[in-house]
Protein backbone atom coordinates (compact mmCIF):
# COMPACT_ATOMS: atom_id res chain seq x y z
CA UNK A 1 0.00 0.00 0.00
CA UNK A 2 1.40 3.45 -0.93
CA UNK A 3 2.34 6.20 1.43
CA UNK A 4 -0.54 8.18 2.94
CA UNK A 5 -3.04 5.77 1.40
CA UNK A 6 -5.82 6.99 3.69
CA UNK A 7 -5.51 10.47 2.22
CA UNK A 8 -5.41 9.00 -1.29
CA UNK A 9 -8.46 6.90 -0.56
CA UNK A 10 -10.45 9.93 0.59
CA UNK A 11 -9.53 11.85 -2.53
CA UNK A 12 -10.23 8.84 -4.73
CA UNK A 13 -6.66 8.46 -5.89
CA UNK A 14 -6.17 4.77 -5.05
CA UNK A 15 -5.78 2.31 -7.90
CA UNK A 16 -8.42 -0.40 -8.24
CA UNK A 17 -6.12 -3.00 -6.81
CA UNK A 18 -5.17 -0.84 -3.88
CA UNK A 19 -8.82 -0.02 -3.26
CA UNK A 20 -9.77 -3.71 -3.17
CA UNK A 21 -6.92 -4.42 -0.80
CA UNK A 22 -7.98 -1.53 1.44
CA UNK A 23 -11.65 -2.59 1.42
CA UNK A 24 -10.70 -5.98 2.83
CA UNK A 25 -8.39 -4.52 5.45
CA UNK A 26 -9.34 -4.63 9.09
CA UNK A 27 -10.27 -0.97 9.74
CA UNK A 28 -12.13 -0.34 6.52
CA UNK A 29 -15.62 -0.22 8.03
CA UNK A 30 -14.48 2.31 10.58
CA UNK A 31 -12.87 4.52 7.96
CA UNK A 32 -15.93 4.30 5.77
CA UNK A 33 -18.09 5.38 8.67
CA UNK A 34 -15.67 8.21 9.45
CA UNK A 35 -15.84 9.36 5.84
CA UNK A 36 -19.62 9.49 5.89
CA UNK A 37 -19.94 11.12 9.28
CA UNK A 38 -17.29 13.77 8.62
CA UNK A 39 -18.92 14.81 5.35
CA UNK A 40 -22.00 15.68 7.38
CA UNK A 41 -20.10 18.05 9.66
CA UNK A 42 -20.90 21.73 9.51
CA UNK A 43 -18.97 24.76 10.61
CA UNK A 44 -20.78 27.48 12.57
CA UNK A 45 -22.97 29.75 10.50
CA UNK A 46 -21.13 32.46 8.73
CA UNK A 47 -22.94 35.09 6.69
CA UNK A 48 -20.46 36.52 4.21
CA UNK A 49 -22.86 39.29 3.12
CA UNK A 50 -23.36 40.42 6.66
CA UNK A 51 -19.64 40.28 7.36
CA UNK A 52 -19.01 42.38 4.26
CA UNK A 53 -21.62 44.87 5.39
CA UNK A 54 -19.99 45.13 8.78
CA UNK A 55 -16.62 45.51 7.11
CA UNK A 56 -17.83 48.33 4.89
CA UNK A 57 -19.43 50.14 7.77
CA UNK A 58 -16.42 49.87 10.00
CA UNK A 59 -13.57 50.21 7.56
CA UNK A 60 -14.72 51.60 4.27
CA UNK A 61 -17.37 53.97 5.58
CA UNK A 62 -18.02 57.16 3.63
CA UNK A 63 -14.74 57.77 1.88
CA UNK A 64 -11.64 55.87 0.77
CA UNK A 65 -9.52 54.79 3.65
CA UNK A 66 -6.73 57.22 2.92
CA UNK A 67 -8.99 60.08 3.83
CA UNK A 68 -10.57 58.33 6.78
CA UNK A 69 -7.12 57.94 8.29
CA UNK A 70 -6.12 61.46 7.45
CA UNK A 71 -7.68 63.56 10.19
CA UNK A 72 -5.47 61.98 12.79
CA UNK A 73 -2.38 62.22 10.62
CA UNK A 74 -3.18 65.83 9.88
CA UNK A 75 -3.65 66.48 13.56
CA UNK A 76 -0.32 64.85 14.30
CA UNK A 77 1.32 66.98 11.67
CA UNK A 78 -0.13 70.16 13.13
CA UNK A 79 0.78 69.02 16.62
CA UNK A 80 4.34 68.34 15.52
CA UNK A 81 4.67 71.77 13.96
CA UNK A 82 3.29 73.42 17.06
CA UNK A 83 5.64 71.42 19.25
CA UNK A 84 8.61 72.46 17.13
CA UNK A 85 7.52 76.10 17.20
CA UNK A 86 7.01 76.03 20.95
CA UNK A 87 10.37 74.41 21.55
CA UNK A 88 12.04 76.80 19.13
CA UNK A 89 10.52 79.91 20.63
CA UNK A 90 11.31 78.66 24.11
CA UNK A 91 14.98 78.41 23.24
CA UNK A 92 14.85 81.65 21.30
CA UNK A 93 13.27 83.59 24.16
CA UNK A 94 15.71 81.98 26.57
CA UNK A 95 18.62 83.15 24.49
CA UNK A 96 17.28 86.70 24.28
CA UNK A 97 19.00 89.26 26.40
CA UNK A 98 17.46 90.67 29.51
CA UNK A 99 16.61 94.31 29.05
CA UNK A 100 15.95 97.06 31.55
CA UNK A 101 14.89 100.49 30.46
CA UNK A 102 14.14 103.65 32.39
CA UNK A 103 12.14 106.54 31.02
CA UNK A 104 12.37 110.21 31.81
CA UNK A 105 12.20 111.02 35.52
CA UNK A 106 12.62 107.35 36.31
CA UNK A 107 15.27 105.33 38.07
CA UNK A 108 15.71 101.64 38.44
CA UNK A 109 17.78 99.27 40.49
CA UNK A 110 18.82 95.98 38.93
CA UNK A 111 20.30 93.02 40.75
CA UNK A 112 22.42 91.04 38.32
CA UNK A 113 22.64 87.23 38.45
CA UNK A 114 25.83 87.33 40.54
CA UNK A 115 24.29 89.85 42.96
CA UNK A 116 26.17 92.74 41.45
CA UNK A 117 24.06 95.87 41.78
CA UNK A 118 23.29 98.30 39.07
CA UNK A 119 21.46 101.62 39.41
CA UNK A 120 20.04 102.96 36.23
CA UNK A 121 19.63 106.73 35.95
CA UNK A 122 16.79 108.32 33.98
CA UNK A 123 16.38 107.58 30.25
CA UNK A 124 18.85 104.69 30.15
CA UNK A 125 18.87 101.18 28.79
CA UNK A 126 20.90 98.11 29.64
CA UNK A 127 20.84 94.62 28.24
CA UNK A 128 22.67 91.50 29.27
CA UNK A 129 22.45 87.76 28.80
CA UNK A 130 21.14 86.03 31.88
CA UNK A 131 22.06 82.62 30.46
CA UNK A 132 25.66 83.42 29.71
CA UNK A 133 26.22 85.54 32.79
CA UNK A 134 28.41 82.96 34.48
CA UNK A 135 30.75 82.85 31.48
CA UNK A 136 30.65 86.44 30.52
CA UNK A 137 29.69 89.36 32.68
CA UNK A 138 28.87 91.74 29.92
CA UNK A 139 26.46 94.67 30.05
CA UNK A 140 25.52 96.89 27.20
CA UNK A 141 24.72 100.36 28.36
CA UNK A 142 23.12 103.31 26.72
CA UNK A 143 22.66 106.10 29.23
CA UNK A 144 24.01 106.32 32.73
CA UNK A 145 24.39 103.72 35.41
CA UNK A 146 26.22 103.21 38.67
CA UNK A 147 27.68 99.77 39.27
CA UNK A 148 28.54 97.93 42.45
CA UNK A 149 30.26 94.91 41.01
CA UNK A 150 30.58 91.71 42.99
CA UNK A 151 34.06 90.20 43.03
CA UNK A 152 34.63 87.65 40.32
CA UNK A 153 35.54 87.39 36.70
CA UNK A 154 35.98 90.27 34.32
CA UNK A 155 32.99 92.57 34.28
CA UNK A 156 32.50 94.50 31.09
CA UNK A 157 30.34 97.49 30.35
CA UNK A 158 30.07 98.05 26.64
CA UNK A 159 28.88 101.38 25.31
CA UNK A 160 28.92 102.94 21.90
CA UNK A 161 31.75 105.21 22.90
CA UNK A 162 33.97 102.96 24.92
CA UNK A 163 34.35 99.87 27.01
CA UNK A 164 34.85 99.68 30.75
CA UNK A 165 36.36 96.57 32.26
CA UNK A 166 36.64 95.89 35.97
CA UNK A 167 37.12 93.05 38.37
CA UNK A 168 35.03 94.13 41.29
CA UNK A 169 34.45 97.69 42.27
CA UNK A 170 32.04 100.58 42.26
CA UNK A 171 31.93 102.89 39.35
CA UNK A 172 29.65 105.09 37.32
CA UNK A 173 29.40 105.11 33.57
CA UNK A 174 27.68 107.87 31.68
CA UNK A 175 27.26 107.41 27.99
CA UNK A 176 25.12 110.20 26.57
CA UNK A 177 25.20 111.96 23.28
CA UNK A 178 28.43 113.94 23.19
CA UNK A 179 29.55 112.88 26.63
CA UNK A 180 31.24 109.77 27.95
CA UNK A 181 32.16 109.73 31.60
CA UNK A 182 33.48 107.00 33.82
CA UNK A 183 33.98 107.60 37.50
CA UNK A 184 35.61 105.03 39.70
CA UNK A 185 34.63 105.01 43.36
CA UNK A 186 36.34 101.85 44.51
CA UNK A 187 38.95 99.50 43.09
CA UNK A 188 40.34 99.94 39.63
CA UNK A 189 38.65 100.13 36.29
CA UNK A 190 40.05 99.91 32.85
CA UNK A 191 38.54 102.23 30.26
CA UNK A 192 39.00 101.74 26.57
CA UNK A 193 38.01 104.70 24.46
CA UNK A 194 38.74 104.86 20.76
CA UNK A 195 41.21 101.98 21.04
CA UNK A 196 43.12 103.63 23.89
CA UNK A 197 43.07 101.90 27.24
CA UNK A 198 43.64 103.69 30.51
CA UNK A 199 43.50 102.49 34.07
CA UNK A 200 41.31 104.56 36.30
CA UNK A 201 41.99 104.22 40.01
CA UNK A 202 39.43 104.96 42.70
CA UNK A 203 38.57 108.63 43.14
CA UNK A 204 39.06 109.53 39.52
CA UNK A 205 36.86 110.42 36.61
CA UNK A 206 37.52 109.96 32.97
CA UNK A 207 35.50 112.40 30.93
CA UNK A 208 35.20 112.85 27.23
CA UNK A 209 33.07 115.78 26.10
CA UNK A 210 32.61 116.30 22.40
CA UNK A 211 35.75 114.27 21.76
CA UNK A 212 37.85 116.23 24.25
CA UNK A 213 39.16 114.20 27.13
CA UNK A 214 39.57 115.58 30.62
CA UNK A 215 39.86 114.10 34.06
CA UNK A 216 38.20 114.96 37.32
CA UNK A 217 37.89 113.96 40.88
CA UNK A 218 34.48 112.94 42.13
CA UNK A 219 33.12 113.96 45.47
CA UNK A 220 31.69 111.32 47.78
CA UNK A 221 31.62 107.56 47.42
CA UNK A 222 28.89 107.29 44.86
CA UNK A 223 27.53 109.46 42.10
CA UNK A 224 25.44 112.39 43.28
CA UNK A 225 22.43 111.23 41.31
CA UNK A 226 22.22 108.32 43.68
CA UNK A 227 21.31 110.98 46.26
CA UNK A 228 18.86 112.65 43.92
CA UNK A 229 21.29 115.32 42.86
CA UNK A 230 22.87 116.01 39.52
CA UNK A 231 26.35 117.43 39.86
CA UNK A 232 28.43 119.02 37.13
CA UNK A 233 32.02 120.14 37.04
CA UNK A 234 32.95 122.32 34.10
CA UNK A 235 30.30 120.77 31.91
CA UNK A 236 28.77 122.65 28.97
CA UNK A 237 25.33 124.01 29.74
CA UNK A 238 23.66 121.94 27.05
CA UNK A 239 24.49 118.75 28.92
CA UNK A 240 23.10 120.29 32.07
CA UNK A 241 19.87 121.11 30.26
CA UNK A 242 19.77 117.59 28.79
CA UNK A 243 20.09 116.12 32.26
CA UNK A 244 17.36 118.43 33.52
CA UNK A 245 15.09 117.16 30.74
CA UNK A 246 15.83 113.57 31.71
CA UNK A 247 15.34 114.03 35.41
CA UNK A 248 12.06 115.96 35.26
CA UNK A 249 10.67 114.86 31.93
CA UNK A 250 10.44 118.41 30.67
CA UNK A 251 11.36 120.03 27.39
CA UNK A 252 14.05 122.71 27.63
CA UNK A 253 14.40 125.44 25.05
CA UNK A 254 16.89 128.28 25.15
CA UNK A 255 16.96 131.80 23.83
CA UNK A 256 20.12 133.83 23.37
CA UNK A 257 22.15 131.55 25.55
CA UNK A 258 25.53 130.10 24.73
CA UNK A 259 24.97 126.49 25.72
CA UNK A 260 28.67 125.72 25.44
CA UNK A 261 29.43 127.78 28.51
CA UNK A 262 30.84 125.58 31.22
CA UNK A 263 28.71 124.98 34.26
CA UNK A 264 29.84 123.89 37.67
CA UNK A 265 27.24 123.13 40.26
CA UNK A 266 24.40 120.77 41.00
CA UNK A 267 20.66 120.59 41.04
CA UNK A 268 18.11 118.62 42.99
CA UNK A 269 16.42 115.84 41.08
CA UNK A 270 13.15 115.96 42.98
CA UNK A 271 12.17 119.62 43.07
CA UNK A 272 11.97 121.28 39.66
CA UNK A 273 11.76 124.81 41.05
CA UNK A 274 14.85 124.29 43.20
CA UNK A 275 16.65 122.74 40.26
CA UNK A 276 15.76 125.59 37.92
CA UNK A 277 17.05 128.11 40.44
CA UNK A 278 20.21 126.06 40.92
CA UNK A 279 20.91 126.29 37.22
CA UNK A 280 19.75 129.80 36.42
CA UNK A 281 21.51 131.56 39.28
CA UNK A 282 25.12 130.51 38.59
CA UNK A 283 24.63 130.64 34.82
CA UNK A 284 23.05 134.06 35.05
CA UNK A 285 20.01 133.17 33.02
CA UNK A 286 16.27 133.45 33.53
CA UNK A 287 13.66 130.83 33.02
CA UNK A 288 9.97 130.49 32.38
CA UNK A 289 7.90 127.36 33.01
CA UNK A 290 4.87 126.58 30.86
CA UNK A 291 3.50 123.16 31.59
CA UNK A 292 6.23 120.70 30.62
CA UNK A 293 8.18 123.33 28.76
CA UNK A 294 11.00 125.32 30.29
CA UNK A 295 12.46 128.32 28.51
CA UNK A 296 15.86 129.62 29.52
CA UNK A 297 16.68 133.05 28.25
CA UNK A 298 19.45 135.56 28.77
CA UNK A 299 18.83 137.74 31.77
CA UNK A 300 19.70 141.40 31.74
CA UNK A 301 20.67 141.61 35.30
CA UNK A 302 22.02 138.99 37.64
CA UNK A 303 19.44 137.83 40.12
Amino acid sequence: MQENYLAKWLSGELSEQELREFETSEGYASFQKLKEASSGLQAPDFDADQALLRFKEEHMAKAPKVISLNPFKKFMRVAAVIAVLLAGSYFYINSLNEKVTTGFAERSEVILPDNSELFLNADSRISYSKKNWDNQRNIELDGEAFFKVAKGKKFTVSTEQGTVIVLGTQFNVENREGIFEVTCYEGLVSVTHKGKEIKLPAGNSYVVINGKQTTGTPKGTQPSWMNNESTFESIPLKFVFAELERQFNVKVTTENINTDLLFTGSFNNTDLNMALKSISTPSQTRYKVEGDNVLFYAGNTPQ
Binding site: A7, Q42, F46
Partner: protein, 166 residues
Protein backbone atom coordinates in the same frame (compact mmCIF):
# COMPACT_ATOMS: atom_id res chain seq x y z
CA UNK B 1 -6.02 46.31 -14.94
CA UNK B 2 -8.42 45.23 -12.27
CA UNK B 3 -7.48 46.27 -8.81
CA UNK B 4 -8.56 45.07 -5.38
CA UNK B 5 -9.01 48.72 -4.44
CA UNK B 6 -12.08 48.79 -6.66
CA UNK B 7 -15.14 48.32 -4.57
CA UNK B 8 -16.79 45.57 -6.61
CA UNK B 9 -13.61 43.51 -6.96
CA UNK B 10 -12.94 43.79 -3.26
CA UNK B 11 -16.50 42.71 -2.48
CA UNK B 12 -16.13 39.71 -4.79
CA UNK B 13 -12.92 38.64 -3.10
CA UNK B 14 -14.58 39.13 0.26
CA UNK B 15 -17.58 36.99 -0.61
CA UNK B 16 -15.45 34.28 -2.15
CA UNK B 17 -13.00 33.83 0.70
CA UNK B 18 -14.37 35.24 3.93
CA UNK B 19 -16.23 32.03 4.78
CA UNK B 20 -13.11 29.90 4.38
CA UNK B 21 -11.05 32.36 6.41
CA UNK B 22 -13.68 32.13 9.10
CA UNK B 23 -13.71 28.31 9.08
CA UNK B 24 -9.94 28.12 8.86
CA UNK B 25 -9.50 30.17 12.05
CA UNK B 26 -12.38 28.38 13.71
CA UNK B 27 -10.87 24.94 13.03
CA UNK B 28 -7.56 26.13 14.42
CA UNK B 29 -8.74 27.65 17.66
CA UNK B 30 -12.38 26.66 18.09
CA UNK B 31 -13.22 30.27 18.88
CA UNK B 32 -16.08 31.68 16.85
CA UNK B 33 -15.63 35.26 17.99
CA UNK B 34 -11.95 35.26 17.08
CA UNK B 35 -12.81 33.74 13.74
CA UNK B 36 -15.20 36.61 13.02
CA UNK B 37 -12.53 39.11 14.06
CA UNK B 38 -9.95 37.35 11.93
CA UNK B 39 -12.11 37.84 8.85
CA UNK B 40 -12.39 41.58 9.54
CA UNK B 41 -8.71 41.98 10.35
CA UNK B 42 -7.51 39.99 7.37
CA UNK B 43 -9.63 42.03 4.98
CA UNK B 44 -8.65 45.33 6.62
CA UNK B 45 -5.05 44.41 5.83
CA UNK B 46 -6.06 43.52 2.30
CA UNK B 47 -7.89 46.83 1.95
CA UNK B 48 -4.91 48.77 3.26
CA UNK B 49 -2.64 47.00 0.81
CA UNK B 50 -5.13 46.80 -2.03
CA UNK B 51 -2.82 48.64 -4.41
CA UNK B 52 -0.04 46.13 -3.85
CA UNK B 53 -2.02 42.89 -3.91
CA UNK B 54 -3.38 41.56 -7.19
CA UNK B 55 -6.79 39.82 -7.19
CA UNK B 56 -5.04 36.48 -7.82
CA UNK B 57 -2.80 36.94 -4.77
CA UNK B 58 -5.63 38.25 -2.59
CA UNK B 59 -6.72 34.75 -1.55
CA UNK B 60 -3.41 33.59 -0.11
CA UNK B 61 -2.85 37.07 1.29
CA UNK B 62 -5.90 36.94 3.53
CA UNK B 63 -5.14 33.38 4.70
CA UNK B 64 -1.59 34.37 5.59
CA UNK B 65 -2.75 37.43 7.50
CA UNK B 66 -5.45 35.46 9.32
CA UNK B 67 -2.97 32.74 10.15
CA UNK B 68 -0.39 35.15 11.54
CA UNK B 69 -2.97 37.08 13.48
CA UNK B 70 -3.33 34.75 16.42
CA UNK B 71 0.00 33.02 16.22
CA UNK B 72 0.82 31.99 19.78
CA UNK B 73 -1.70 34.51 21.03
CA UNK B 74 -4.83 32.62 21.88
CA UNK B 75 -5.31 29.29 23.49
CA UNK B 76 -7.19 26.71 21.51
CA UNK B 77 -10.67 25.99 22.66
CA UNK B 78 -12.82 23.01 21.88
CA UNK B 79 -13.92 22.99 18.30
CA UNK B 80 -17.65 22.44 18.29
CA UNK B 81 -19.17 21.47 14.99
CA UNK B 82 -22.72 20.80 14.03
CA UNK B 83 -23.57 17.34 12.77
CA UNK B 84 -25.87 17.13 9.85
CA UNK B 85 -28.89 15.05 10.76
CA UNK B 86 -29.19 13.88 7.16
CA UNK B 87 -28.02 10.46 8.22
CA UNK B 88 -30.85 10.27 10.65
CA UNK B 89 -33.46 11.88 8.47
CA UNK B 90 -32.77 9.46 5.62
CA UNK B 91 -33.62 6.57 7.75
CA UNK B 92 -36.59 7.58 9.83
CA UNK B 93 -37.42 3.93 10.26
CA UNK B 94 -34.26 3.38 12.28
CA UNK B 95 -34.71 2.11 15.77
CA UNK B 96 -34.13 4.30 18.86
CA UNK B 97 -31.08 2.17 19.60
CA UNK B 98 -29.63 3.14 16.25
CA UNK B 99 -30.29 6.84 16.93
CA UNK B 100 -28.59 6.47 20.31
CA UNK B 101 -25.62 4.89 18.65
CA UNK B 102 -25.47 7.72 16.11
CA UNK B 103 -25.44 10.33 18.88
CA UNK B 104 -22.74 8.44 20.68
CA UNK B 105 -20.66 8.18 17.52
CA UNK B 106 -20.96 11.92 16.92
CA UNK B 107 -19.74 12.63 20.41
CA UNK B 108 -16.78 10.32 19.93
CA UNK B 109 -15.99 12.04 16.65
CA UNK B 110 -16.09 15.44 18.35
CA UNK B 111 -13.70 14.28 21.03
CA UNK B 112 -11.42 12.67 18.50
CA UNK B 113 -11.32 15.85 16.42
CA UNK B 114 -10.43 17.93 19.43
CA UNK B 115 -7.71 15.49 20.34
CA UNK B 116 -6.01 16.04 16.98
CA UNK B 117 -3.05 18.37 16.61
CA UNK B 118 -4.25 21.72 15.29
CA UNK B 119 -2.71 21.39 11.83
CA UNK B 120 -4.20 17.91 11.26
CA UNK B 121 -7.63 19.02 12.42
CA UNK B 122 -7.55 22.11 10.21
CA UNK B 123 -6.48 20.10 7.17
CA UNK B 124 -9.03 17.39 7.78
CA UNK B 125 -11.94 19.78 8.27
CA UNK B 126 -11.04 22.05 5.37
CA UNK B 127 -11.18 18.95 3.20
CA UNK B 128 -14.22 17.25 4.70
CA UNK B 129 -16.39 20.27 5.54
CA UNK B 130 -15.31 22.86 2.98
CA UNK B 131 -14.43 20.38 0.25
CA UNK B 132 -11.02 21.97 -0.27
CA UNK B 133 -8.60 19.98 -2.41
CA UNK B 134 -5.25 19.03 -0.89
CA UNK B 135 -3.50 21.44 -3.25
CA UNK B 136 -5.68 24.32 -2.06
CA UNK B 137 -5.03 23.53 1.57
CA UNK B 138 -1.32 23.26 0.83
CA UNK B 139 -1.43 26.76 -0.64
CA UNK B 140 -3.31 28.16 2.37
CA UNK B 141 -0.95 26.59 4.85
CA UNK B 142 2.10 27.33 2.78
CA UNK B 143 3.35 23.74 2.73
CA UNK B 144 3.67 21.01 0.07
CA UNK B 145 0.76 18.86 -1.10
CA UNK B 146 2.64 15.86 0.21
CA UNK B 147 2.73 17.38 3.69
CA UNK B 148 -1.03 17.89 3.55
CA UNK B 149 -1.54 14.27 2.47
CA UNK B 150 0.60 13.20 5.39
CA UNK B 151 -1.51 15.27 7.79
CA UNK B 152 -4.67 13.87 6.28
CA UNK B 153 -3.45 10.29 6.57
CA UNK B 154 -2.38 10.79 10.17
CA UNK B 155 -5.65 12.55 10.98
CA UNK B 156 -7.72 9.64 9.66
CA UNK B 157 -5.57 7.16 11.49
CA UNK B 158 -5.80 8.96 14.83
CA UNK B 159 -9.53 9.62 14.48
CA UNK B 160 -10.25 5.98 13.82
CA UNK B 161 -8.05 4.85 16.66
CA UNK B 162 -9.69 7.33 19.02
CA UNK B 163 -13.22 6.35 17.99
CA UNK B 164 -12.60 2.61 17.96
CA UNK B 165 -10.69 2.89 21.20
CA UNK B 166 -7.59 1.20 19.87
Amino acid sequence: MSNVCEDHIFSEVFKAHSKTVFNYIFYKFGNEEKAHDAVQEAFVKLWENCAKVSPEKAKSFVYTVANNLYLNVIKSEKVRLKHADSLVRDRTNESPEFLMEEKEYQKKLDDALNALPENQRTTFLLNRVDGKKYAEIAEMEGVSVKAIEKRMHLALKSLREHIDGI
